[in-house]
Subunit: 340 residues, 2 copies
């Protein structure tokens, strides 16, 4: 990567700041404005600057390692963007990620914590692959940990999650903005052994849906809101039943992109066109589905990359300090395509 | 993880071998049969055994680190299974993965190689997110490297890739086995600046398709084979054109699951049922699509997890030796669901 000094100058030029400011950001010095810090970090990322690890070791004696522990990336593949977000921030701070995927096995997770300790990681990002309350593996005491896409029931550790209310609100608002007044909602549901899971996605998006209707002076109607167990046949059935109502919806907000995919099929079989006859909005922005459907699906983006960034950033900013258990919620923005 | 000695005993019991055999596997001793090695590794994985890193350091002075460098996980999310496969093998050998995702940026990739060197990784798995020839980043000379899901044009480094011919052959055979004799094939295509990419997926699967027909005494017909640029509208158009042939196919083999998704839509609009009127076979086994479609999609599995395992295994087996540039191709098995 060439001479570190030249590269610091390059960063300063790119960011439009002095080299002192760059140095301060690299050393996590507190006296840098948020705006300058952001510009320097963007320059570091854009130029892929990486100062000498050796210099860092000599100076601080720190390992330069962050641990990244996940439960199961495989179930929600786009959640790997959480890793990328954390990596990009770690990199900008001359740190490297040690990654361990426990596959949901708690014994493996505990062993991973042991490994991270042996390697003297400076902190851990613990990421869940869908938004939910979690219990941390044993052995994390005293090791700075930030949760991404999950949280502790007692909120005793910092966490960053998607703002589900925001997502539900803006999905509904997109339909309202296109003139729709009867908006169906096929929400998610999954019961495990008779226990209703307290998944924030389910009630958060419902609250957002209700709020958007209320803001437009519309009444909430139970008949327009369904809960699907997410199997293709149930998603299909709920669409058919919504469209069989005496006053069927003209727009359907789907709990995720897979629901939307089955909703499309049911509408096609009824001879109904998207969005001409019925508008459809998804959730998750699974590119393979959303970009692959005809017409392409308007949907809500889960902020995976941003959560990874936020978690790593919060760890790094608070190195050597006690972390306040901030509970951060990041917006799920609308990705407008062709279905509304 | 408790006492390492007890755990070695547990592994021996689980694997049905002696503790000496377990020790030999852990130390990469050559005098262990392949079958016993496999049983021990399965036991290690199943029990999530992790011996003391300290002991390993004291004995060998090695870093216990493997580098994992990818180009862009985000584009093909299920390819993260390559990471999981490599991790599981590394773990079983008391090694930890350092992961870096270059996002396709060659400067970042070179910097990652520097970091891996500084951290004294014992080898590198270089993974591409779709099967293709690659150039390795600068700076890898002398660092043992195994390529996963990609290969060097001159085959000078070991690599493990999906067997595309096998996949094309068995996809076609699945349709033949269900009695189909006219089998359409919507193959992939993507031209970049007028250059035809030599993607093994394209010609490999075509060869497999041709071979399967030949084995059944059927002639290859140009009219039944299409090349789609993978946009939804083109996938849709090719399906419509296949079905408009004087003798339309009764089965369609799609180059990937997204093509199959658009193929379903086109067939639905023609009032044709899957698989009653037309059977459909996909490729890739993207769970969100294949399990989400109605009927669920029969498709070919890319061996991501297995490639990650193979690459890490080959690195570890050859530690301290010159690696032969083996070019390994792993089968893409059929995942039978409801569409054939």
């Amino acid at each position: 990567m060439g001479d570190a000094k030249v590269t610091i100058k390059e960063i300063a030029r790119y960011a439009g700041v002095g080299t002192t400011t760059v140095s301060r950001v690299l050393n996590n010095h507190p006296y840098v404005s948020d705006e300058k810090r952001r510009r320097v970090e963007q320059a570091i990322a854009a130029l892929h600057y990486r100062p000498s690890q050796t210099a860092r070791h000599l100076r601080g004696g720190s390992s330069g390692l962050l641990g990244f522990l996940t439960d199961d990336v495989a179930t929600t593949p786009y959640a790997v963007d959480i890793i990328r977000g954390a990596q990009d921030v770690a990199w900008a701070h001359r740190m490297v990620l040690l990654v361990a995927d426990s596959g949901g096995n708690s014994r493996f997770a505990e062993a991973a914590v042991d490994v991270f300790r042996e390697r003297a990681v400076e902190g851990i990002v613990y990421a869940a692959m869908y938004h939910r309350p979690v219990r941390l593996p044993a052995g994390l005491d005293g090791l700075p940990t930030v949760l991404a896409n999950c949280f502790l029931e007692d909120r005793s550790a910092p966490s960053v999650v998607p703002d589900e209310v925001y997502g539900g609100y803006h999905a509904t608002k997109a339909a309202l903005g296109a003139g729709h007044r009867r908006i169906g909602f096929i929400n998610l549901w999954e019961e495990t052994e008779g226990v209703t899971p307290p998944f924030p996605a389910i009630y958060g998006r419902l609250r957002g849906y209700q709020q958007a209707l209320e803001d437009h002076g519309l009444c909430y109607e139970d008949a327009l809101v369904r809960f699907s167990d997410q199997t293709p046949r149930e998603n299909y059935r709920h669409t058919r039943e919504l469209m069989a109502l005496p006053a069927p919806p003209t727009a359907i907000f789907c709990g995720n992109d897979k629901v939307a995919m089955n909703c499309y099929s049911a509408l096609a079989e009824l001879g109904l066109r998207v969005p001409g006859d019925v508008a459809v909005i998804g959730y998750d922005n699974i590119a393979h589905i959303a970009e692959g459907l005809l017409p392409q699906l308007t949907t809500m983006q889960l902020p995976h990359y941003e959560m990874g960034k936020w978690a790593a950033q919060y760890l790094i900013e608070n190195q050597g300090r006690t972390m306040a258990p901030v509970q951060m919620a990041l917006p799920c923005p609308l990705v407008a395509r062709e279905s509304v």
